[in-house]
Symmetry: C2
Subunit: 113 residues, 2 copies
């Protein structure tokens, strides 16, 4: 059992290649006993972005705060609070924040890939 305000989970810098102004909070993960999937809060500062990449393992996302855009396979989709999205595995994608407020979204990934 875990119960926490997400602000109390450490915001770790995401320093992977191609990332800028990106951070991650592991809300529920392996260290909490989760075995199948993990829930993270991703934060992108204004002007920030994730790497543009593809990988095994899908994303299920839900936007919490701010706005931005999600590029999937060359198409852009708007991100704003209340938007849910599914990015299947193996498809090129990138999260970007061209706005003036931090973009925060829930991103769930499988733990077995």
């Amino acid at each position: 059992m875990k119960h926490t305000d997400y602000h109390d989970v450490t915001l770790e810098k995401f320093a992977g290649e191609g990332a800028k102004g990106a951070g991650i909070r592991w809300l529920v993960g392996e260290r909490d006993g989760a075995e199948n999937f993990a829930m993270r809060m991703i934060e992108l500062e204004p002007g920030g972005h994730s790497p543009c990449h593809s990988h095994p393992g899908e994303h299920e996302i839900f936007v919490w705060r701010g706005s931005g855009e999600l590029m999937v396979d060359g198409k852009n989709y708007i991100l704003e609070p209340g938007i849910a999205a599914f990015v299947p595995e193996g498809i090129e994608h990138q999260f970007r924040n061209p706005g003036e407020q931090t973009l925060e979204f829930i991103c769930v990934i499988p733990l077995n890939k």
Copy 2:
């Protein structure tokens, strides 16, 4: 790929035994191509609750709107926007909304259990 405002996903009545004033929106599930886990938005009307039950399959939750409480193994935890929680499988739990506003929370479950 799926991209939607969560309001555009049908709110289905959750009519299981022990549930009251409960609804569910399948934001990402098997019909969208998800194979490992599903993201749902659960809604509990004021005075509503989920069944008090245990089952295989964990919950990873994140509160979006409203407030309420989560009982896990006889202990009560507050639910309000920004709270994340992990309910391991096989533990008795119940979501309740004693408040005056609809409680809405993301609830992710495995699809293989």
